[in-house]
Amino acid sequence: MKEKLRPFLLVLADLALLGASLVVFALFHHVLPGTAVERQETTPGETAVFSFPGRFTDGGVEERWDGDIYHYRDAGLDLTVTFYEKDGASYTLADFYLKDLSRFRTAFAGGEFVTGVSDSVLHMASENGALLAASGDYCGVRKSGVVIRDGRVYRRDKTHEVCVLYRDGVMETYRFADFHVDDAVARGAWQAWDFGPCLLLPDGSARTDFHPGIAGPNPRMLLGYFEPGHYCLAAVNGRQSASPGLTLPECAALMEGLGCRAAYNLDGGHSAVMTLSGQIVNKPSKAGGRDISDILYLAKEAGA
């Protein structure tokens, strides 16, 4: 009897060992907090100042709603938030012009870059005095991937296609083989995200060759670039009966249609959350969204 049970017990023991190994892997891969990166290299240069005549106020703040469209203007920011719902797709689009790029910032959960630490977009936005905030690339859940934030280099090894916003206001997206971190740092990267994929081709037309495993309809967070100082963020609602979400080719077509010169897919799914003045302004697939590691945000005040 014991001999008959032996192969069965051996397989069971192997399966138990496999389960334990996967649990230990998960612990070290994305559960246990890492250590804060204390010494960061700062990229060279100053953040650019842009001129958009007539876009900004002389010092006051103007805020108004035109139906479903929110307008905000101050001395350094012109922001329009629009809620779209058509053809089964629904998304919140934030289109903004900046006077000073340093107002377009990023923040980490807990205030410093530590892997395995997460927080809600809403809380991070309020902690950092954000007017508008959006979920980032969830860099803290991974132990690798380029992380350059607010001009500081935290991690240099690339894992995916990379998006870089340079200090001169130019945003460029790179296929994996085309990105060289040393070049990006030397050129003065202000932000770099490692998630993707890039949505547009170099000529601004929509890309179509996406990996089928990630291309399906989903909630998305998209970052678009029109010209230095003019960008947009689109939070696509998904995994809901009214809005299944957008596929990557649809996202690419959306950003092309908006007239972006470059566009990039940030972390989506439950992570995709956009907040405006302390309120969630998209429809996250999970109530309130999930806790993530980082956000992109527009500061309420320049230099704050």
């Binding site: 192997d14 190994s21 891969h29 132990k143 495993g213």
Partner: protein, 90 residues
Amino acid sequence: MSVNKRRVKLWLSVLAHLVAVLSVMMLTLFILDRVNEAMAFLNNEITKWILAVYALLAAILAAGVIVLYEKGLKEDRSGSEDKGERHDQE
């Protein structure tokens, strides 16, 4: 069977189980990485080390099995030669 031979076979058996577990683990990570590429289940330091350990254990197992197999062949050959000699003497 000599005690030494039994010990070697036991170690090889343990090694085989470890290699089996690690291979299924690598397959699991491969599938997870295909499903959610953003999590970088394959392209990270931990997986690289697991892959290195897996390759090392597989190499040791392969070497052990090859040596054991060759020894078995040699023993079989010498055994049959002995039998042949005995047969001739008879």
